[in-house]
């Protein structure tokens, strides 16, 4: 129960930043379609489904890392601890120090989106969701480490699924559009919340690291 909540909390604390960063991809499409709230929810659902696939792919990769590298290693605590500390430091930097950028717009090719919306509009929400889900930002790297530390494939998938649920919570508001002018603020708060969670992971990682060193 705790493990799933861990991923959920990490996701929820990053939800604001995720939503504010990925909305520029989804929002113009929603506005362009303009078919009403029910239709907007359907499109957002497709977008989120795409993201979920992206995340589950990460979970699978994390599990492969676990079986290939970590499981047989005597330095399991040490490796996970170092990863936690590094990614937590990255998350703190991302949350408090990194200058604002356009988030997913950087990692996702805008031209590709434009082509996709023109040529295959029906595929757009799912594909866009999938591609934005495969974004190597600090929260995802931390979630990846968390998933790699799980004891089974199911647990890794559950970890990323709960992370997905957390990051998706604020997407419920997106089809209502009305909050769009507060994106900048939501993004700042979301990033700072992610930075604060980074301190928690820094603590967890340091404890694991100390345990790993003690075992050597």
């Amino acid at each position: 129960m705790y493990i799933k909540l861990d991923g959920f909390i990490l996701g929820l604390s990053n939800g604001g930043a995720c939503m504010a960063a990925c909305a520029p991809v989804l929002l113009p499409y929603l506005l362009g379609e303009g078919k009403g709230i029910a239709s907007n929810y359907w499109i957002t659902g497709q977008f989120l489904l795409g993201r979920l696939w992206g995340y589950l792919l990460f979970a699978l990769l994390a599990w492969m890392v676990n079986t290939a590298v970590l499981r047989e290693s005597e330095m399991w605590n040490l490796i996970i601890g170092v990863a936690y500390v590094l990614f937590a430091a990255l998350l703190i930097f991302y949350g408090f120090l990194k200058k604002e950028d356009s988030g997913c717009q950087n990692s996702c090719n805008r031209k590709m989106y434009q082509q996709l919306t023109t040529l295959r509009p029906a595929l757009f929400p799912v594909t866009a969701g999938f591609v934005t889900g495969l974004n190597f930002c600090p929260p995802i790297l931390l979630a990846f480490t968390g998933a790699a530390a799980q004891s089974s494939l199911i647990m890794s998938l559950l970890y990323f699924f709960s992370f997905f649920l957390g990051t998706s919570a604020l997407f419920i508001l997106l089809p209502l559009i009305g909050i769009s002018n507060r994106f900048a603020v939501i993004r700042i708060i979301g990033k700072m919340a992610a930075g604060i969670i980074g301190f928690y992971y820094l603590y967890s990682g340091s404890i694991m690291l100390l345990r790993g060193i003690a075992k050597l």
């Binding site: 909390i9 604390s13 708060i189 700072m192 919340a193 604060i196 603590y203």
Partner: protein, 391 residues
């Protein structure tokens, strides 16, 4: 700079001596009953404390009415109240427990005093599990959970985020240190940090709901340094204590002194962020008259909670984080900033009425909270002088 001379003319809000005394009579009656509990204190120390506290509180209120200045006088009582609170609280803890540290046994018995900062963390678990996630007592005890909830609801309805400048027993420490120097050493603070309390609120509410424990109290509360803390029995509790002390020194002492702002209240306190929303339902706000404002932005530079900016001034109002301390109102030489009752026009003749309608309830809350602790602190000081010990 374009100065509208007619608008800049000072407004005479000051009543005469007799009218001031008349206006102070209700407050004197209320504080007399409140401090004495309807009885003449028997012990000499209690009697001295009662007389001194009564005189102090009512002198402050007298000058608040007589001079037409709010923050100048409020801040004196607010700061004294806060430091007396620490003195009274710590000595009481040592009297009862023998130490400032709270043991696990004490927590299991529900002997931890409840403070308002915990409130936002309790709401989700309360809704889901019907349980208060705090090792305190619901009713009957000192600083009980129900008592604090009732006080919080009442103050929030009456004052909104004015709570933070007229009620909070921690705010005065921050304010005290912010007034140590005459000039701010650090002036330019990136406004993005004003969102940190909201981010912190989001994290502590979620983490507390997930762990079913008050996360902020366990890890981040700077005021644990001057109230109580969990007994140090492990590396974890030692780390927690280090965090409390570091945050207190940085956020309550050093940064307020260097910036002349209430850094802990304005840039860190998650309860403050939560409380900001109550400004939406409160009838009082602080407004800026654009016709009188000469855009000198002095108010922006001195606002302790970063609630004023060029943008908010252009809109004629403060941000929702306004603590209604009155510092900007006192500082504005154009009298462009005023206390205001929502839904009423910014009428010159009604400005002082709106101010008085705000400061009566606000001061009653402050006097109610401050009266008891100031009296108790005076008794403790008399004890120290006469017996050599406060306990």
């Amino acid at each position: 700079m374009n100065i509208n001379k007619s608008a800049a003319a000072p407004v005479n809000n000051k009543p005469g001596l007799f009218k001031t005394l008349l206006l102070c009579l209700p407050m004197m009656t209320v504080t007399l009953l409140m401090l004495s509990h309807g009885q003449r204190p028997e012990e000499p120390a209690l009697l001295i404390a009662f007389v001194l506290t009564f005189a102090f509180i009512n002198t402050i209120f007298f000058f608040m009415i007589y001079t037409g200045e709010t923050d100048r006088w409020r801040s004196i009582l607010f700061i004294v109240y806060s430091f007396c609170f620490i003195l009274s609280f710590i000595t009481n803890l040592i009297e009862v427990r023998g130490s400032m540290a709270i043991s696990e046994a004490n927590m299991i018995e529900g002997l931890t005093p409840f403070c308002h900062i915990v409130i936002p963390m309790t709401l989700i678990p309360l809704a889901i599990t019907k349980t208060i996630i705090f090792p305190g007592t619901i009713i009957g005890a000192n600083a009980s959970i129900a008592g604090m909830f009732v006080l919080w609801i009442g103050t929030s309805l009456a004052l909104g985020r004015g709570f933070c400048s007229w009620f909070c027993f921690f705010g005065g420490m921050d304010e005290g240190f912010s007034r140590l120097f005459r000039k701010a050493r650090i002036k330019n603070i990136d406004r993005k940090w004003t969102y940190l309390p909201y981010a912190l609120l989001l994290v502590i509410v979620l983490a507390s709901a997930a762990a079913l424990a008050p996360f902020y109290c366990e890890w981040l509360c700077p005021f644990k340094t001057v109230t109580e803390y969990q007994e140090i029995t492990s590396i974890k509790t030692a780390l927690q204590a280090m965090i409390f002390v570091s945050l207190f020194i940085a956020l309550v002492m050093i940064l307020p002194a260097l910036t002349e702002r209430r850094i802990q209240c304005g840039l860190f306190c998650p309860f403050g962020a939560f409380q900001s929303w109550t400004n939406k339902i409160n009838v009082f706000d602080v407004r800026i008259d654009p016709a009188k404002c000469i855009k000198c932005y002095k108010c922006v530079q001195i606002c302790p909670s970063f609630s004023l900016s060029e943008d908010t001034i252009a809109k004629g109002k403060t941000a929702t984080t306004c603590m209604k301390c009155g510092k900007c109102i006192d500082a504005c030489k154009q009298h462009a900033i005023v206390y205001h009752i929502k839904g009423t026009p910014l009428n010159e003749g009604k400005v002082e009425i709106a101010r008085r309608l705000f400061i009566y309830p606000a001061f009653i809350f402050l006097a109610t909270m401050a009266g008891g602790v100031v009296q108790d602190a005076i008794v403790k000081i008399i004890k120290l002088v006469t017996t050599g010990s406060m306990i």
